[in-house]
């Protein structure tokens, strides 16, 4: 009994410690994003700008350019980390992240059509991306429905829908002028390069709705893990809960995609990394923080440390890919379910 209690309190302590370290990392990377760039500003100047003082030079570069970029990076990191973990937990499969299901492609394809054919910008692209992402997710759910939704079927149908949407994206890329296509490709790679203050409010407001919803649903998700029958006996309607979870998770992916394009593999990586840091606990908060760390760090690397500037999505993609293959290989060998 005492051993059990001691173990539990040790786990709680570890959980608080890890969460605090992750939060500190987010803040450090956030400040580093403000400091680093073509021109490096000192921490006092940066803090001055945040406090609202007028610092010559820094007020524009940091206040107008780097601050919204850092905020958006943090927010999409949180959104993608949450969404990925919701998907992975709901489908009980680390590979069932929105990156691999076709979900993100719905937003991308619609946004590319809007950018390429209709010259849409900013808020229009965001709205189109969110609506299309939802529509694709509902289509995916409907097509996977056959006396309930099975994880395996959802994954496979997601892959099929993704293949069609990729074909659409590639087709659009051939139909527009090369400079527009290059612009579209930059967006498609997930880029924070054009982040401005105007992009912040829609993203922030959407997250104010979606993050609490995710937190509420996460409790029911735990019950769902026990199996559909048990969950029903405990008063959680499995299909309805799953549909709601899907809507929230897709909403998170879609608003993040609308803000910065599809940033590869953040949704996929956050949950498993948080799971390694904190085995056997609820993962939403740590996963959200891990997501923010990943996006901020990848943006710093892509923007400052390489021979040319890469969009954030290329960096996360290059980091995520080997991990993904390793994960598949490992979960197969240990007999993990796939």
């Amino acid at each position: 009994m005492t051993a059990l209690a001691a173990g539990r309190s040790a786990r709680t302590r570890r959980r608080i410690l890890v969460t605090a370290i992750l939060a500190a990392l987010v803040i450090a990377l956030f400040l580093l994003t403000l400091v680093l760039g073509n021109r490096v500003y000192g921490l006092p100047e940066v803090l001055g700008v945040i406090a609202g003082q007028d610092v010559s030079g820094a007020s524009f570069t940091v206040g107008r350019l780097r601050l919204p970029r850092a905020i958006i990076a943090t927010l999409i990191g949180v959104a993608l980390g949450l969404a990925g973990t919701l998907f992975q937990t709901m489908l009980r499969n680390p590979l069932a992240s929105p990156d691999i299901l076709g979900v993100g492609y719905g937003s991308s394809a619609a946004a590319i059509v809007a950018i390429g054919f209709f010259g849409a910008q900013g808020a229009t692209v965001a709205v189109v991306a969110v609506v299309a992402g939802m529509a694709v997710a509902l289509l995916l759910y409907a097509l996977s429905w056959r006396q309930g939704v099975q994880g395996a079927r959802l994954v496979l149908i997601g892959i099929a829908i993704g293949a069609v949407l990729v074909a659409v994206i590639q087709w659009v890329l051939t139909r527009i002028e090369v400079y527009k296509a290059a612009e579209a490709l930059r967006w498609l790679s997930g880029s924070l390069g054009s982040a401005l203050w105007g992009d912040v409010p829609p993203l922030a407001i959407s997250l104010l709705v979606l993050v609490p919803a995710a937190a509420v649903l996460a409790r029911r998700l735990g019950v769902l893990q026990l199996g559909d029958d048990t969950a029903a006996a405990l008063g959680v309607r499995p299909h309805r809960t799953r549909l709601l979870l899907l809507v929230v998770a897709v909403g998170l992916v879609a608003v993040a995609t609308a803000a910065a394009g599809p940033v590869a593999f953040v949704a996929f990586l956050s949950g498993p990394i948080a799971g390694r840091l904190l085995p056997g606990t609820a993962l939403l908060l740590p996963a959200a923080l891990v997501g923010a760390v990943l996006v901020l760090a990848a943006d710093l690397v892509g923007g400052n440390l390489l021979f040319t500037t890469f969009p954030v999505g290329v960096v996360t993609g290059a980091v995520g890919a080997p991990y993904l293959l390793w994960l598949i290989a490992r979960s197969n060998r240990t007999g993990g379910r796939l």
Partner: protein
Amino acid sequence: MIGSTSEAPAGPRGVRPALRRRRLLLGFAIGVGGLALAVVLSLVLGSRIVSWTEVLGGVFSPDPDSFAQQAVATRVPRTVLALLVGAALGLGGAVMQGITRNPLADPGLLGVNAGASLAVVLGIAVLGIDATGEYVWFALVGAATAAVLVYTVGSIGRAGATPLKLAIAGAATSAALASLVSAVLLVRTDVFNMFRFWQVGGVGGADFAALTPVLPFLGAGAILALLSARGLDVLALGDDVARGLGGRVGPSRILAAAGAVLLTAGAVSVAGPIAFVGLVVPHAARAFTGPAHHWLLPYSAMLGALLLVAADVVGRVISRPSDIPVGIMTAVLGAPFFIWLIRRAKVREL
């Protein structure tokens, strides 16, 4: 190999082998007739409306004089390309499904196309290649590497290469390779401009000069694939039974896989990644022929050619005067079929 006494597997529901054989031959002849019709339509239909005499002039006269005849003349290599690529993808898909005993195997879904894409992009960007004859080597290496990688990753573990594991490994590999591709393309707009047209999967800009270097690959792949028909029949029984029957599992699998990779890489290098043909066609063929590969493989080649030529014609007609690349058409036609296939199967079997 199985003893030579075993005849072609007896047809289902007691149809006599001879009768069944005649039926299958007749079906094949009808299919070839349909293919011929599709080829004629492919020469006749297009953005420009032409008369029959102009079609004949375009096909047969050595130097076409009118616009219409020239329009037809450009349709000839395009049609030939669609025929060959379709047959190669159909055949390659059937072999792949046989080797992996996996109803969802398809070069696009298993990451083979993505591997070829990355290799071609690197070839264009780093070594400055710019001709199809050179693309093919890169596509071949990339496709083979990706195929081996995906199959290895997907088959680790006790259950072996289940369809779901392979499909996820393929999708994951495709996603990973695609982000590497875009890392290169973002830095090099010139490469991107060449690559985006190759990537979409089309037969539109075809000419015979681009087609010729690929022919040896397609030919060798087709021969290997057709020779491995018996080996695939044995493999279908499962590795243990196959070994018990005296079949050499390793060599026949490698031989067949080499054929499939040659076919798909050859097709991909000249026409770009075209998805779902290799998936859909063998299933349609199996509905006619049953599981025996010595019928299934020729049927798959024939139906693949028919599908691609027809898809190309439809893509040209519905969006006149421009055309929709055939890779888009096959994705739009193939995905619903794929989804139907998954919905029909019991999840436990996946």
